[in-house]
Amino acid sequence: MRAVTIAALLLSAGAPAWPPAHAEDASPAARQAAFAKLPYWPGLWLTEHDESTIGGLSVAQIEARESGKAAEHNPALSLFGFAAPWNEEGKKRQAARMNQGNGNRTAEGWGYPMMMNAAAPLQFLITPEEVLMINAYRDVRHIRTDGSPHPGPDDIWPTVWGDSVGHWDGDTLVIDTIGVRNPNVYFHGGPPLSDDAHYVEKLHMVSPDRIEGEITITDPATLTGPWTVKLAWTRDDSFGRMIHDAFTNDRTDNENATIAPPADEQPGGEKGE
């Protein structure tokens, strides 16, 4: 009774419910034992069928063009949203995005969930406490697997990559993600979901060179029901190593699509973003 009273007092005093009490760090031996039980997904991974030419064009698209047949694969558009069960609000948002041009807006990366469907190489770093997913555009996800919950409603706000917690169901990584800002605000290729969308992923390495996954998205604000997108990644050693660099030469302009030389080489010009 007394404990309940104290808890109630703490809550009413605005004591934070999150972060949860910090668990003791595992001993090195216990951590090694935990590591040994985990899957290992080494290497760099690329969305299946999403290889690029030196022009940055999709190899699958170019082959289709040359053969005169429709492309069998268009992996970069899996999460674009054309197959999603949009409700009226979702349809309105989809229609609006088509009038906004195709510029990259504020993005230097793809954000979540698009980074899971990007042409950029992706790394899965699995540890006992968290799984890190990092791509070449410096999109980074921290997926806590230490049992800590999502923050409470007063401790979370929408971000480009959201908040993810996960657990291992055998060799399948199950991830629960919330707090993702409308992905279309950050990146023009992102689906225009609401900030309240809920994402559940299941990822599984089916062979040393292939990982399969699916994302099921529920978002009553924009969808009539769950939207499931299947994804696959293949190991790609051609990238050699993960290389990051800033965007220093963005010549595109949302309103005036061009690749004219950088503005500082043009009289009176200002470098566009």
């Binding site: 999403d50 290889e51 690029s52 030419t53 030196i54 022009g55 940055g56 064009l57 999709s58 190899v59 698209q61 063009r65 492309a71 268009n74 970069a76 558009l77 054309f82 349809k91 989809q94 229609a95 995005r97 088509m98 041009g101 195709n102 510029g103 990259n104 230097e108 793809w110 990007a118 042409a119 950029a120 190489p121 070449a136 290729g189 790609d236 051609s238 990238f239 050699g240 290389i243 660099d245 800033a246 965007f247 220093t248 030469n249 963005d250 010549r251 595109t252 699509a257 061009t258 690749i259 004219a260 030389p261």
Partner: protein, 121 residues
């Protein structure tokens, strides 16, 4: 309904020219045409989000030749010194629709006729 049709049409356009990196639409390029440009490399910009080769063409114009991000070039066997200022190259491009001297690179040949690049070039 009209809106639905409009964005379906826009999708068809974007599907026809989808860039793998998706940094920007490829609509500015006319992918039904190919132009071949020979000239001298002024500068090779190994930069995100796109690499560019600036070429002083034999037609007297400076061409901006857009390529993918460095990681895509790297995975196709290109390196920052694959082309250098002063090199003579011949490039095939999908040209800019607006008629400016630029385009997206299909392939690049060195002066000795060798195509630069690896498995996907």
């Amino acid at each position: 309904m009209r809106n639905t049709f409009a964005w379906a049409a826009a999708l068809c356009l974007s599907l026809a020219a989808a860039p793998a990196d998706a940094h920007h639409s490829m609509a500015m390029f006319d992918m039904s045409k190919t132009v071949t440009v020979s000239g001298t490399v002024k500068e090779f910009q190994w930069t995100n989000p796109h690499c560019y080769i600036q070429v002083l063409g034999k037609d007297g114009k400076e061409w901006s030749m857009e390529m993918g991000a460095p990681m895509y070039l790297y995975s196709n066997g290109w390196r920052p010194k694959s082309v250098k200022p002063g090199d003579q190259i011949t490039a095939r491009l999908y040209p800019l629709r607006d008629g400016k001297p630029g385009g997206v690179v299909i392939d690049v040949k060195t002066a000795d006729g060798k195509i630069l690049g690896g498995k996907r070039a």
